[in-house]
Amino acid sequence: MDAQKTLDAKGLACPMPIVKTKKAMKEIETGEILEIQATDKGAKSDLTAWAKSGGHELLKTEEEDDVFYFWIKKG
């Protein structure tokens, strides 16, 4: 999936993946897509909940070799 920006949050523990995601989202425009890579297991449920509460759309998630990939469209 084509993303306008990619955030590498691998190796970071909660709350840093979301702290960095929030910051990165401010740097893209509404309708653009941010790709996030994280290894923290809690990131999945927290990013899902955060995207929902912030009015963003979680387009897709994937897991490969213990890395979680998320694509979020800014709302």
Binding site: A13, C14, P15, M16, I18, V19, K22, K41, G42, S45, D46, A49, W50, S53
Partner: protein
Amino acid sequence: MSLNKMHASEVAAKIINKNDLFILDVRNEDAYADWKIDGESVTSMNVPYFDLIDGVEDILEKLPKDKEILVVCAKEGSSIFVGEELVEAGVQNVSYLPGGMKAWSEYLEPVKVSDLPGGALYQFVRIGKGCLSYMVESNGEAAVIDANRMIENYTSFAENKGLTIKATFDTHLHADHISGGKDLADQMGGTYYLPEEDAGEVTFDYTPLKEGDVFSIGDVKLEPVYSPGHTIGSTSFIIQDQFLLTGDILFVQSIGRPDLAGKAEDWVTDLRTTLYDRYKEMAGELTVLPAHFSKVEELGENGLVSAQLNELYRVNDGLNVEKEEDFRKMVTENLPPQPNAYQEIRETNMGKISPDEETQREMEVGPNRCAVN
């Protein structure tokens, strides 16, 4: 002013002693709705940490001014983050829970049930998850029943008292938590017992637990009683003709559910027979000691969970369903959700899979849900 730590043991003490505690739980809303720290003296509020990253101003006036505030999250990172924000904003008396809900899930509080000839009986209350395990000790010997996977709790307790753990017993194949029975027995050079009827798919060595065997731990007598229904192998223990360890068959405010191995319809008759015939024939003065509690209100003095058998026949709704048909409906329909990862937990307890410790922790997150409420 700095952020304090309040360990799981201190949180448990506050709940048992009914001291006021205000909890700011910063996990996401689903996690909070599913499972949280409960207590009669506990007030809690849920604001996900991701809503507090830019500041805590919005919630300041909702926080009590005169109470200790404990910030809690899944592990601890976010609670430290939010806790420090609160301290910076001038809030007094703020702590976080080191290890978060995972530490809470793993904390065991040992409570003395009673003296026994040459020793005593202890209940280990896993207060965050509602699991109860037991240690019988007499004249330097000990046995552990329904051990949790955090076996250092039992080994250090035994070591402090100079006890040798001779035997570990599981009353049944557990579906809500990972058993420490096998590991504990192996580590201490003891014998691990499990009811044979539950062990059909077990891949490691165990010794069958059978009614008719009598175990002596020092001067104390343990008698297994076959009592199926939660599982087909469920076995209770009568200790010294005074205590009835019911496993997941009978709880203080509820009864066991027969469905966690997918056999609700088959096992409901066994459950009925155990509760309405087998236990009923026993002495009413027996003190019931279950393997779970579901509500903190069940914690009595010092945190002990127990009740007299004849009292339960008076007050426990699950023991007072006259018609078999109504009973069948109650225990097979409208059941609460199953425990988190219960299939994987059963497979772990059979030795079929061996997840690493972190995965085992994740699997056990949440309440036990072994009862029909």
